[in-house]
């Protein structure tokens, strides 16, 4: 893994982002309907729609609009939201931090829970603990976010129990207790699926490591099991676990779209759905760019962490 390799990978990502945004732009333009029609809704007359199109610049040819947009992005200006009449950077920026808070909470919780679960399952392979963890992993991996979220709502936020708020957002700075109570359900929903997936991966990585020659060698050196697990097995199964986690950030970024919508979390996912519904192209583009960039960066960070964990990669 070299610096040049990282650069090249970033370049490939940028190229594809360019293609994706271009495709989104072109096809959205070809399709009937636009932001002006959506803004005015059924109270729009052809005249007022035309006037709004002029005002928003939607009457220009699509390639002019695209060139304009790309030019803006290169200058660091993401443009103006068509529907919300605010600078895209402002709309997206706020949403981004809200999403980040949720995603990081979920990810940290998952990492803290999933890795030990996977390790325990691998060490206790074939026991009841392994079976329970495996079962949980399978069920978690088979529940789409919206089902989990809905069931959690029914059972934990329903009128019968009312343990937790059914949605909404409180910034950690405003009231930390409020933040925690609001973040539990959405983070729990995201976490269930990720925990399932990651613990399963860690278990299989750990099982492979435990079956390896060097673990056998360590045991045959008479080392105590604790040292064999902690010093020999764990470091070797953590690197693949980090790789899995970084890939799962892709799931997380997808899952966040649904979860935010259901739990009224004012983040990027909900913004994206809103923008998609309203044909708010600059916002769609910005969110897409942002999510893909975050994903690419997190993969990059994971590569670096893996390199730190595994000397073979570090010096290769």
């Amino acid at each position: 893994m070299t610096f040049g390799y990282l650069l090249r990978r970033l370049a490939a990502v940028l190229l594809v982002l360019f293609i994706v945004t271009f495709a989104v732009f072109a096809i959205t333009m070809i399709l009937p309907g636009n932001a002006a029609i959506m803004i005015l809704g059924e109270y729009g007359t052809p005249e007022s729609v035309a006037a709004l199109e002029r005002q928003l610049g939607l009457d220009r040819p699509w390639y002019v609009q695209y060139a304009d947009w790309v030019g803006g992005v290169l200058r660091g200006d993401l443009g103006q939201s068509l529907r919300l009449s605010l600078p895209v950077s402002e709309v997206v920026g706020q949403a981004f931090w809200n999403s980040a808070v949720l995603a990081v909470t979920a990810l940290v919780a998952v990492t803290v829970i999933a890795i030990p679960l996977g390790v325990v399952a691998a060490i206790r392979r074939g026991t009841a603990a392994d079976l329970v963890i495996g079962l949980f992993a399978y069920i978690g991996a088979s529940m789409p976010e919206f089902v989990t979220a809905t069931l959690l709502l029914v059972f934990l936020a329903g009128p019968a129990t009312g343990l937790l708020p059914a949605g909404g957002f409180v910034a950690p700075g405003e009231s930390f207790a409020g933040f925690v109570s609001h973040v539990l359900l959405p983070a729990g929903t995201l976490g269930l699926i990720l925990t399932a997936h990651i613990s399963r991966q860690v278990r299989s990585e750990m099982s492979d490591v435990l079956a390896s020659d060097y673990i056998r060698a360590a045991r045959l050196k008479g080392l105590r099991e604790r040292r064999v697990i902690r010093r020999h097995a764990l470091p070797n199964s953590l690197a693949p676990a980090v790789a899995v986690i970084s890939l799962d950030i892709g799931y997380l970024l997808g899952g966040i779209i649904v979860v935010e919508e259901i739990f009224a979390w004012p983040g990027l996912g909900r913004l994206l759905i809103y923008a998609l519904e309203n044909r708010d192209l600059p916002v769609i583009q910005a969110v897409t760019l942002l999510l893909a960039t975050v994903y690419a960066l997190s993969n990059l960070i994971a590569d670096i962490v893996i390199a730190l964990l595994d000397p073979r990669v570090r010096y290769a």
């Binding site: 050196k221 040292r227 020999h232």
Partner: protein
């Protein structure tokens, strides 16, 4: 601790020990009524082919058996102490301290994420109660005893920063670190190059002298065992068929299996090959100035992919193969010998020129069907060389069809003939590769090559993955086919002894260069290249059994 008892005291005793594994298809017997004794200061060589149960015995001694293992009431004792009666905690104390083990492949038996020093020092900390500092100092000393030049530096390295030989020295240092009473060696040199292996064996001999440890040396290689062990036990299908002092057993084997095994060991003085070809005959196939650069790519490839350093697989290699000749190419792994096999069979891009029957080919893509028909290749791994989803009949009839060797209606019959030619029953045609043994598969692969009625067959380590006895029969088969068809052969191998039995001329490759080329008879001549001499030195020829009946040569199981 290892001071207990004089030389000759039994350290390890195995008596009437049997072991089997429970499998879904019934119990699988691994060891049957095994009796063994390893004495102090002695090395017992345990010799067997793959699947003979020799590794199972090692696991039994280490008390490291899978859950599905079933033992009988036989005895395993260390200095009279019953190992089977030890509690798991007691076993933990014994492992690494009183019984140590050296594994086959240092590449996999060392933890890739831990420094070599830590892996060595942890044993000392565990068993001798040393502090970390003491253990590292002690480890350094142990490493120095194994002949590593800068032990302190080696201690700080990770496994991937050390060579195979260095890693195995670390493993050996670890095994000797706590002065054990017994060391189990499980094919410790198989994964190493010939010359490195020789150095490791010398190291082992020296350390044994110094410590007087008892050793169980497991190997498939009779020649090797004859060099390191005082006593030998031959194991076949879980049973010890013969045991005794090395010299005795090798000179006068009592059991047919032992004898067959010994006879299968290649000996340069036993010529198996065909009559030498006419040295004046024009070359059939020539390689001229062949140069292969790995990692060379187009500008686009360089742009899109991380730059990998180019290295040379072959540097200006040139040789000629005469009609009917068997040309041996010898070298260690990475020497470029397989690269040449790929160049000649059109699998590898190259610079230079390949000449065949007066025509020249400058690029891989220039090879036409006529050339490809005339030059066939047989690969190393019998398991990988046949398409698992095709029947033998389909595999063998493919070249017949491709080159239109026989009319379609004759193909089935020809497949039968080919199978007979490689000494396989004709009804194998209906089988799938996984229903065949390794040797049988390799015969099919040879038959596929000869089906094209080629002028040259390239054999790329075709015996390396086979057991000794099978190896010999495959080599003989190849020579027989050569005799019958007059086909020339390029025989690529790392086994100098084997190739000296077969080849008319031998080329030696090292790091991509052809360093030597000589007539087989002149192998021992003093003007040989130093590298050739080093190779020959690392591969002493085992003593032959006294009464060799030439008639029995082909009656191998």
């Amino acid at each position: 601790m290892s001071g207990a008892g004089e030389p000759g005291t039994p350290v390890l005793e195995v008596a009437s020990y049997s072991l089997s594994y429970r499998t879904p298809s019934g119990p699988l017997e691994a060891l049957k009524d095994v009796d063994l004794t390893v004495e102090r200061g002695h090395t017992l060589g345990l010799v067997g082919e793959s699947g003979s149960g020799k590794s199972s015995l090692a696991w039994s001694i280490m008390r490291y058996l899978p859950d599905n293992a079933v033992e009988n009431d036989g005895r395993l004792s260390l200095l009279g102490e019953d190992l089977r009666a030890c509690s798991p905690a007691e076993i933990l104390e014994i492992r690494g301290s009183r019984i140590a083990m050296v594994f086959q492949d240092p590449g996999t038996s060392l933890n890739p994420t831990l420094r070599l020093g830590e892996q060595l020092a942890e044993v000392l900390m565990r068993h001798q109660g040393l502090t970390q500092q003491q253990a590292w100092a002690e480890g350094e000393a142990a490493l120095a005893r194994t002949g590593i030049a800068r032990p302190a530096d080696m201690m700080r390295r990770f496994p991937h920063e050390a060579s195979g030989g260095e890693k195995q020295r670390v493993v050996i240092a670890t095994a000797f670190a706590c002065n054990p009473e017994l060391i189990v060696f499980d094919e410790p040199t198989t994964a190493l190059d010939t010359i490195t292996a020789q150095q490791i064996l010398e190291l082992f001999g020296r350390l044994r002298e110094e410590t007087g440890v008892a050793a169980l040396y497991i190997s498939h290689d009779l020649g090797l065992v004859s060099r390191v062990a005082q006593d030998v036990a031959v194991i076949n299908r879980g049973e010890i068929v013969e045991s005794g002092p090395c010299a005795e057993v090798f000179r006068a084997p009592r059991r047919p299996y032992t004898r067959a095994l010994l006879e299968a060991v290649p000996r340069p003085d036993q010529w198996l090959g065909t009559a030498p070809p006419d040295p004046a005959a024009p070359a059939l196939l020539t390689a001229e100035g062949i140069r292969v650069e790995y990692g060379a790519r187009s500008w686009l490839g360089r742009l899109l992919n991380p730059p990998a350093e180019a290295f040379l697989g072959a540097k200006d290699v040139g040789f000629a193969v005469r009609p009917g000749e068997l040309l041996g190419i010898v070298g260690e792994s990475g020497s470029g010998k397989s690269t040449m096999a790929k160049v000649l069979s059109g699998l590898q891009d190259f610079d230079g020129r390949v000449g065949f029957e007066g025509r020249g080919f400058q690029r891989r893509r220039a090879f036409d069907r006529a050339y490809r028909r005339a030059v066939q290749i047989v690969f190393q791994h019998p398991d990988a060389s046949l398409n698992p989803r095709q029947r033998i009949s389909e595999i063998l009839s493919r070249p017949l069809k491709l080159y239109d060797i026989v009319p379609p209606e004759r193909r089935a019959a020809r497949v039968g003939e080919l199978l007979e030619q490689v000494r396989l029953p004709a009804d194998f045609a209906g089988r799938y590769p996984h229903q065949l043994s390794g040797g049988e598969k390799q015969r099919v692969a040879i038959a596929r090559a000869f089906a094209a009625e080629p002028a040259v067959v390239i054999c790329d380590e075709i015996t390396a993955a086979l057991d000794v006895s099978v190896q010999a029969s495959v080599a003989r088969l190849l020579v027989d086919l050569q005799r019958e068809t007059g086909t020339a052969c390029v025989f690529i191998t790392h086994d100098l002894n084997l190739v000296r039995q077969l080849a008319h001329r031998i080329g030696v490759m090292n790091r991509g260069e052809l360093v030597d080329m000589f007539d087989t008879a002149e192998a021992d001549a003093p003007e040989r290249h130093p590298y050739t001499r080093a190779l020959l030195g690392a591969m002493p020829v085992p003593a032959a059994p006294e009464t060799t009946d030439p008639l029995k040569e082909r009656s191998l199981p």
